[in-house]
C-alpha cells in the first residue's frame, strides 16, 4: 500500500512474489515521487494485501471511507450531521458504509459522480473547493485523498463488498511518550490489523484529534505542540480508535528531583509521574489548611474556632491520621455522603414526593453512617423492588421511567460510562455500538410500577407524583433496538453475550454482575468518584466519562486504588483514609496554577466551596440558623434531604433557598456530578455584597453582638473571629489594622465587627478550598 509521504508499507501476509514486487515498487517510488506515479501505485496496491492487483478492486469501506473520515466530511458538524449539510448526508464518522455509498453514488440522481470525467465529479470538486463548498477546501487536487477518490470513481465506483475484512485492531507507536526539548515533535505510526490477519500502515489515512488546543498533528501523523504540557490524541481509522498520551517537556535534567518520601502507593504513582514530567510537587500544607480541608471534605463544614485551635495545639505525630478517623465517625460524615448521593440519585420532591425524598435520604444516610460496603449499597439500589416507602432503595427506579434512561443512568453512575451518544448512532468516541446500547437497556426492560394512587396536586403535570409506588419486575417485555426494529437481546454493558438469562430476574443478575469483584469498571468508577470528591479532579475526568479516547491521567494508580477498594470489601472509609493520608492529598495549592501541574496533582486544585458548605459555614460563624421553606429552623443546608420542599407557586423561596440556587445546588434532574455548579458569577457577588441572606444574618447575629460587648478586648475579638472563620490566628498586619479600626472608632464597634465578619466571609480563604 502506498499512502503518500514516501512511506510505503505492505501487509506482511502477502505472498513472496508480492513482497518482491512491493520491494521493487518501493525503490521505484522513492526515486520517482511524482503524483501520477503514486496514483498508479495506489490503484495497483489498494488491494495488494489480498494478493490481487486489479485496478477495479477498490475496497469502498476501507479506502473511500477512510478518506471521508480523514478529510472530516463525516463529522457531526459537516455531512455527518443527523440532517446532513448542503443536501449530502453521511453516517457519523463513517459508521454505515453501505448508506454512505448510496448517498455518494445514487442521491441527486448520481450527479456527485462522473465516471467519464472523474475530475469533474461533484464529490471531488466540492472538497477541493473547485465549486463553492461551505466546508471550504478539505484537500488538494492531486493529494492522496483526491487520488483515492478519483481512482475509485474511474474504477466504476464499486460498492461495499461483504468480503472486505473489518479492522480489528489499531496499534499506534509510540503509545505513550515524553518528549524533551530539543526534541519537539513526534512521529506517530499507525498499523491496522484486519479481520483476515493482514496488517497495513495507515498512518497517512488515520485521523488525529488532540484534546489540547495547542497540539497540531499533520496529516502524516507528525505531532507538535506550542506549549509544554500533556495531550491525549485520539487516533482513529475506520471503526477503531485509541488514545495516545504525549507530554512535551523542557530539556531533560540530569539530576533527579528531590521528591518527598512517599507515604503510600498513591504517592509512589503520583510522584513517579511527576519525576518523569519533571514537575516539582508543592510543599505539604500547614495544620490550619489541613484541618479545614479535612472538615470540609469529610463533614461539609469548617472546624469551629475551638476545634481548629485544639488541632493546632495537638503535638502528637499522628494527629492528622487521628483527625481523619475521628471525623469519619461523626454524623456529619453521613450527611455529606447522603447529600452527594442524593444529588446523583435524583432525590427531589416532584418525582419522589416529599415523603419519598425523606425516606430515600435517610436510607442513604444510614448506609454511610453504618459503613455499608459500597457494593452492597449499589446492589440494593439496582435490584431495588417493592414499595418506595417501605424499601427506599427502590426509589432508584422511580425517576427512571423507561428502560433507556435506566440503562443510561446505571452506566453513568456505576460504570462511569456516558452511553447516550450510542442511542442514535455508534458512540463516536468509544467502542459502544447502537446494539450495545439497546442490549444494555434490555436488562431494564421489565421494570414496571404499580401505582395505587397518584395524589399529584397539578393534574396536568406528568412529572409530578405524590404517593407510594411499587417497583416490580414483570415476567415479560423487551426493548426494541432502534437500529434493527427488533427486540434487543439483554446483555450487560461490555459483558458476555450469554451472561443474562432472559427469564430469571434481570435486576438480580445485574446486581451480581455489576458489583462482582471481577467487574473492574465498577470498582474503578467508584474509586474515581471518591478520588474526585477529595482531590477535585477525577483520575478519569469528567468523573463519569470513562472511554477509549479519554484515558486516566494515572492508569496504574486507578487500578491500584480499585484493587485496594475491592480487597477491603468496598469500604468507603478505608479508601478515604488511604487517600487523605497520602502526601498527594496533603500538598499545598501554592505555586503556579499551570493546568499541567494541577492535572498531575503536583499541587492541590483550588475549588469554590459548594452552596451548602458556604451557607453552613456562614451560619456557623455567625451563630445563626438557616431558614428553608418547609423545614424547622436549625436544619443545615448540607442536611436537606431534597431540593425544594414547598412548591414555588405556594411560597416564594426563602433567601437561604435562593442562596443555594444562586451558588449552584443542583435541581437533581440529571444523575451527573456535572449538574452541580461550582462556577462563580456576578449574581453571587451581588448576593454577598448586598443580598438579604448574608446581610440580615450579619446584622442580627447574636454572636457578633456578644463579641462587641465592652468586656472583650479588640485583641480577643479579632483572634476569635479569625479562628472561627479561617481556622488560623490573624497575621500581625491583620491584627494591627483591625485593632486600629476597632480602637479608633469605638462608637462604631458593632458595625466594624460586622464588617470584619463580612470581609472574612468574603475572603478567598473562606470561599475556596485550597
Amino acid at each position: 500500500m502506498v499512502y503518500g509521504n514516501g512511506r510505503i508499507h505492505l501487509s506482511v501476509e502477502g505472498t513472496k512474489s508480492l513482497k518482491k514486487s512491493f520491494i521493487t515498487m518501493q525503490s521505484i517510488v522513492s526515486s520517482y515521487r511524482t503524483i501520477s506515479f503514486l496514483t498508479v501505485c495506489c490503484v495497483a496496491f489498494l488491494l495488494s494485501a489480498r494478493g490481487t492487483i486489479a485496478a477495479d478492486e477498490f475496497v469502498f469501506e476501507r479506502d473511500v471511507m477512510a478518506v471521508l473520515s480523514k478529510a472530516g466530511c463525516n463529522l457531526g458538524t459537516c455531512h455527518g450531521n443527523l440532517r446532513g449539510k448542503g443536501g449530502l448526508s453521511l453516517s457519523l464518522r463513517g459508521q454505515d458504509a453501505a448508506g454512505d455509498f448510496l448517498a455518494l453514488t445514487h442521491d441527486l440522481a448520481g450527479r456527485r459522480i462522473n465516471r467519464n470525467a472523474a475530475d469533474e465529479s461533484l464529490m471531488l470538486l466540492k472538497p477541493v473547493a473547485g465549486v463553492p463548498h461551505e466546508g471550504g477546501q478539505r484537500f488538494q487536487v492531486g493529494s492522496l485523498e483526491y487520488t483515492i477518490l478519483r481512482d475509485w470513481i474511474r474504477a466504476g465506483s464499486p460498492g461495499p463488498a461483504s468480503t472486505s475484512p473489518p479492522v480489528t485492531q489499531l496499534q499506534v507507536t509510540p503509545q505513550h511518550k515524553n518528549i524533551f526539548l530539543p526534541e519537539d515533535s513526534v512521529q506517530l505510526e499507525v498499523i491496522a490489523t484486519f479481520d483476515d490477519g493482514t496488517t497495513r500502515d495507515v498512518t497517512r489515512l488515520a485521523t488525529y484529534e488532540a484534546e489540547n488546543l495547542a497540539t497540531r498533528t499533520s496529516a502524516n501523523g507528525l505531532v507538535e505542540q506550542d506549549e509544554f504540557g500533556e495531550t491525549t490524541i485520539a487516533v482513529r481509522f475506520l471503526n477503531e480508535q485509541l488514545a495516545v498520551r504525549l507530554a512535551f517537556l523542557p530539556p531533560s535534567r540530569s539530576a533527579s528531583m528531590a521528591l518527598p518520601e512517599p507515604q503510600n502507593y498513591i504517592d509512589r504513582h503520583v510522584f513517579g509521574k511527576l519525576q518523569e514530567l519533571q514537575i516539582e510537587p508543592a510543599e505539604l500544607v500547614s495544620d490550619s489548611v489541613f484541618v479545614r480541608r479535612a472538615y470540609f471534605d469529610l463533614l461539609g463544614i469548617p472546624p469551629t474556632g475551638q476545634e481548629a485551635q485544639a488541632f493546632a495545639n495537638d503535638l502528637h505525630q499522628d494527629k492528622r491520621a487521628r483527625l481523619i478517623d475521628e471525623l469519619m465517625n461523626r454524623p456529619e460524615f453521613a450527611d455529606q455522603w447522603a447529600l452527594k448521593w442524593s444529588d446523583l440519585l435524583r432525590n427531589e420532591e416532584k418525582v419522589m414526593d416529599a415523603r419519598g425524598v425523606e425516606l430515600f435520604h435517610s436510607w442513604i444516610r444510614r448506609s454511610f453512617a453504618e459503613g455499608q460496603p459500597l457494593d452492597e449499597f449499589v446492589r440494593e439500589l439496582v435490584a431495588g423492588q417493592g414499595s418506595t416507602y417501605e424499601n427506599p432503595p427502590s426509589n432508584y427506579y422511580r425517576p427512571l421511567r423507561d428502560p433507556l434512561s435506566r440503562g443510561e443512568t446505571t452506566a453513568r453512575l456505576f460504570l462511569g460510562v456516558r452511553l447516550q451518544c450510542a442511542k442514535c448512532h455508534n458512540h463516536p468516541f468509544d467502542h459502544w455500538t447502537q446494539d450495545d446500547y439497546y442490549s444494555w437497556a434490555g436488562v431494564f426492560a421489565r421494570v414496571d410500577y404499580e401505582v395505587p394512587e397518584n395524589k399529584r396536586q397539578d393534574r396536568l403535570d406528568k412529572n409530578e407524583f405524590v404517593g407510594e409506588q411499587q417497583v416490580i419486575e414483570k415476567m415479560e417485555g423487551e426493548v426494541t433496538n432502534a437500529r434493527t426494529g427488533e427486540a434487543a437481546t439483554p446483555q450487560f454493558l461490555g459483558g458476555e453475550a450469554s451472561a443474562v438469562t432472559p427469564d430469571a430476574s434481570r435486576l438480580e443478575q445485574l446486581a451480581n454482575w455489576l458489583t462482582s469483584p471481577a467487574n473492574k469498571s465498577f470498582s474503578q468508577a467508584q474509586v474515581n468518584r471518591i478520588w474526585f470528591h477529595l482531590l477535585g479532579r477525577g483520575l478519569v475526568e469528567p468523573v463519569d466519562d470513562f472511554r477509549v479516547t479519554n484515558p486516566a491521567s494515572h492508569p496504574e494508580l486507578l487500578e491500584a486504588l480499585a484493587d485496594d477498594f475491592v480487597r477491603h470489601r468496598y469500604d468507603v472509609r478505608h479508601l478515604i483514609r488511604r487517600i487523605m493520608m497520602s502526601k498527594t492529598y496533603q500538598l499545598a495549592s501554592h505555586g503556579s496554577n499551570d493546568e499541567f501541574a494541577t492535572t498531575n496533582y503536583a499541587r492541590t486544585m483550588v475549588r469554590r466551596h459548594s452552596a451548602e458548605q458556604l451557607l453552613d459555614a456562614q451560619c456557623q460563624l455567625l451563630g445563626m440558623p438557616s431558614q428553608f421553606n418547609g423545614y424547622a429552623e436549625g436544619i443545615r443546608a448540607g442536611q436537606l434531604p431534597g431540593v425544594l420542599r414547598v412548591r414555588l407557586r405556594e411560597k416564594a423561596p426563602s433567601p437561604d433557598d435562593r442562596f443555594l440556587t444562586v451558588f449552584g445546588k443542583p435541581k437533581r434532574l440529571m444523575s451527573c456530578e456535572c449538574e452541580r455548579s461550582d462556577e462563580t458569577t456576578l449574581t453571587q457577588a451581588f448576593y454577598l455584597l448586598g443580598g438579604e441572606s448574608l446581610h440580615g444574618r450579619l446584622a442580627n447575629s447574636a454572636r457578633l453582638k456578644k463579641l462587641a460587648e465592652p468586656t472583650n478586648s479588640s485583641l480577643e475579638i479579632i483572634r476569635e473571629l479569625y479562628w472561627s472563620a479561617l481556622s488560623r490566628a490573624p497575621a500581625n498586619e491583620e491584627m494591627n489594622l483591625f485593632r486600629r479600626q476597632l480602637e479608633t472608632q469605638p462608637e462604631e464597634r458593632e458595625q466594624i465587627i460586622q464588617d470584619l465578619a463580612w470581609a472574612l466571609i468574603n475572603s478567598k480563604e473562606f470561599m475556596f478550598r485550597h
Partner: protein, 452 residues
Amino acid sequence: MMKLPRRSVLKIGGTGLLGLTLPKLLQASEVSHHRPRAKSVIFLFQWGGPSQLDTFDMKPDAPDGIRSPYRPISSTVPGMPVCELLPRMSQQMHKVTLIRTLTHKMKNHASAGYYAITGHEPPSDDQRLRDSLSLYPAYGSVVDRLAVSNPGVPAFVAYPHVIRDGSIVPGQHASFLGKSHDPLFFQEDPNATGFRLPELSLPADLSVDRLQRRRSLQQLIDQQTRYLDRSEKAIGFDQYYDKALSMLTSDRVRKAFDLSHEPEVLRDAYGHTTYGQSCLLARRLVEAGVKFVTVYFSNSIGGRKIGSGGWDTHGFDNSRMYKIVNKYQLPMTDQTLPTLLIDLENRGLLDETLIVWMGEFGRTPKINKNESRDHWPQCYTALLAGGGVKQGHVHGSSDRYAMYPAEHPVRPDDLAATMFHLLGIDPKTEVYDRANRPLPIAEGETIRDILA
C-alpha cells in the same frame, strides 16, 4: 503557561479581560465571519400566543367563523394591511419585516414557549415541560457566551416576569452554558414608582462607603493568600466583586435602569404599563450597550380578563376573546410597539437594533364555540424590524385562511439562525452540553430573503 521557546503562539492572556477566558476569546474571533448588522436585539416575547388573523395576517375574504370581526386597514406599505385596532402601528409598517409563515408542531405553551425563546425544538410537546440542564439556553445566554460584550455592562438582561404556565417554562436561562451566562434578571416593575434594580440597590443601613470599607478589609485578608491569585476561579470571582461594586457605585448601568431620566411625554407615549415601560427600559439598555434584551409581555398566559396576563384567549370561563383583546393586548401593542420603533429611529438606533416581536404560536383560524381562538402553531406571524432586516417587507405567505404556510415556511430554528447571523455570530457555531456533545447554536438556516 510555559511556552515552547521556538514557536510564536497566540498572544491572548488567560484572564486579563473581565470574564473573557481564552476559549471565549477564541470562539468570539472564530465566530465573527462577517460584520454584524445588529449590535443588539430586543426580543419582545408575546406570551400566550397572539392571533395572526387579528393582527398582521388578516384574511378579510375568509368566511364567517374564520374571518376576524375586525377589519383590516391599509398601512404605509401597500399590500401590508393591519388590523384596524393597530392604527398607530399601521403608520410604521414601512420599518418592518413580517414573517407570515412561522410554523412548528408544539401545541402546549410550555413546549412552544421553550421553542420560541431558544430556537430549539423541545423533546416533547408537554404542558409542563420540565426544565433541566439538558435543555437549550436562552438566545441571550448564547449571545453572552459568544459575542464580545461591552465591559462593565451585562450582555443579557431579561425581565419583568418569569414566564410560566403551571410550571416555569424552560429556556429562560443559560442552562448547560453555565450560570455565568444567565441573564441579569429581575421581576421588579419598571412601571412602579421608585423602580430600581434590586441588585443595584443596597439595604438601608448599608452605604456605599461601608461597602467600600468592607471590600478593602476583604482585600487585606486576601493578601495573606496571594497564592490564590493564581487560580483563575479565584481571580474571576474577585473581578465579579469589582464589576458588581462598579455597577453599584458607577453611573452607567444605574442610569440605564433609571427611567426617571426620561421625559414624561416619552414615558406617556410608551404607555404607563409594565410592558410599555419595560420597552422603554429596553431602549435605554441597548443604548448602554446591552447585547440582548428580552421583555416578557406577561407572567401568565392570561387571556381571560382585561388588564393582566398574556394572549391566550380561548374564551374559557365564559370570557370572550373579542371582548378582551380589543381592550387590552391590542391597544397596548399599538401604543408601545410603534413608539419603540419611532424612539429607536429618532436616536439613530434602529439600524443597529433588531426588534423581534413574536409569540409561541398563533391561534386557530376557526373561531371556536366560545367565539374565541385556540392554539395554532402551524402558521403564524412574527414581526421584525431594524438591525439589518428589510423594511416594508413580507416574507412567505399563508394559505387563504392563515391555516398553513402557502410558501416559504419558516421554523423557529430559521429565525434563530437569522438573529445570530444578524448579530455577527455564525449560527453553525457549536457549544458543548453537559455530556460534552457539540451542538450547533441554531439548527436552521438564515432567512436570506429578509436581510436588507
